[in-house]
Amino acid sequence: VTAAVEHPLYRPVRARIALAAWIAALGALILLVLQLPLSPRFFALVAGWCMVATASLHWLAGRRHDPVFFPARFAVFAFEVVAAAWVAHYIGASSWLATLFLLFPAIEWNMLYPGIWGLMGSLLAVVASGTLIVGEAVGFVPAGAVFPAIDPEYGDPRYALAAFFVSGSVIVGLSTVVSGYAEAGRRQSRELGGANERLREMSEDVRRSHHELEKAYTKLGNTQAELVGAAKLASLGTLIAGVAHEINTPLGALNANHDTIRRALEKLQVILEDETVDEHELDDVRRIVRAIDGVTATNNMAVARMVKMVDSLRTFGRVDRSERDHVDLHEGIESTLAILKQELNGRSIAVVRDFGDLPLVECYPDQVNQVFMNLILNGAQAIRDAGTVTIRTRPAGDAVEVEIQDTGVGIPAENLARIYDPGFTTKEKRMGMGMGLLISRRIIDRHSGELRVDSEPGVGTTFTVRLPVRLQESTDDRPAASTATTESVPAAEAAGAPATYPVQRATTRGGHRATDH
């Protein structure tokens, strides 16, 4: 804001010191020329003039003299009060006149400190010193108790003149030093104030940006939660569409068969209305009964299919037990395949099961099944026309591994690092929203498992899920009991934090892989 403070006595001060020196020199010259002795009376006069001049200056300058340096000001004031008393004493003025002299510092003090404090200070000074001076003069205070009794010299106006100059130099010098320090202090405090202001602004900026960051953080968390929720809804949509289609077929058959049976019964009724049944009609009856028989067999099939579907759904969603449990992962895989049957069979995708001997795995089955669904669906959707999805399971020490391999288009190396990014998708819009793998990875992370990917463009992709047999839930982020629950997601996770992503292990393999068609 301002230039650095070089010295308390800033530039205009030097001019004032020069002025004071000139005045002092002039005073001394007068003393020399007039050959005046330096008597106490002379000093009394100097002090008196100092007081008068200071008061007058302050009077004239008004409040432009900031009362910055209070102790210095007070010292000057006290000095003035005492000086007034001395002057009054030595010029031999009456005690009443001396009291009037005291008005000068009082006025000055009031100018500096207007208001109640100035007034009180002035009154105190006037009363205190007035009491002493007047008291001595009237004999109330013993003579010589306050001021030494020195025989005054009267009448020489030369003293007054010399004293005027000497006091002038004292005043200028004193005020220069005082105001110099005051100005320096003001400057310093101004600078400090400026720096302080800047600091305050900076801290305000920091606070504001912190607040904004916080807001963004919250928003990010919310968006992430919303996305996860939406993705869950989307996968729920896939699930429902699959189920609806799967149920539609047996339902269609049942619906038609119901109508067929009704018709058959009507026909039988018509035939049986006659008392007699001839050979031709008997043939009809046989035909009708055969039809009913066929229809019933079909109905059995349809009902069995629907029961199986509902069973699969229950296994998949673990409607009956959504808490952690020891489960046979094959069951979950089978139920997932049953739900995705439409997606797979409808598109000439063969499913190969290469199941090993797995122990029961402690996990949240509904969540793990969601991972299987995401991965199998991804595999199926990566296949353009016809292809194979191979599901391999095997025990691996105190863990199990489930490998889901497709013969799809594969993932180019440059995309491998991004597959877990929220919203990253290469599918058409209607197929997904790019959250499946992120959700899967999070579920596996929470199970303290691993999700690895190997992919070769044009050959296919293999996702490997590794789950510990005994569930060690990672961190405090306990899996939600239900897949329908939307959880809030730590924004750090949402933002990527790629270092913690197991995708670092992702590799693109050269050469061909063994696929079992």
Partner: protein
Amino acid sequence: MADTDNATVMIVDDEEMVAMALRSFLELETSYRVLTFTSPEAALEDPAVGDVNVVIADFMMPGMDGITFLRRFREEHPEATRVLLTGYADKENAIRAINEAGLYYYLEKPWSNDHLKLVIRNGVERSTLFAELDERVRALEGANQELREIRRRLVQAFL
């Protein structure tokens, strides 16, 4: 062939229960000969199929979709009226089916027996009418051929 009561209806659906439900209904309500297949390849390769008046195919089948099947079936059996029965209705596939397979009707699952019966009866009628037309055209051609032969002989006799 002209006898609509003895027409042949072929049903191709990978879901046995659908094929069976259709067969049961048709056997009860009509006197058509009903052939059911759960695999489109088997339907194409079966040598005992003979003439087919109406062919009803499912859309989503493993191995071959209904549209491809109907297109290929038309090559061998142009006389058959083609019907697609689908649980997966979308405009794109409907248009494809009509254009590629010369589809007569597009039925959605779940179907209504009455509607199905009507579609099949119309299909059979259409097929028999085509067959009749075909027969008449052939008869006409035969007669024409005969006339030409007579004319040729007449010309020969005169020369």
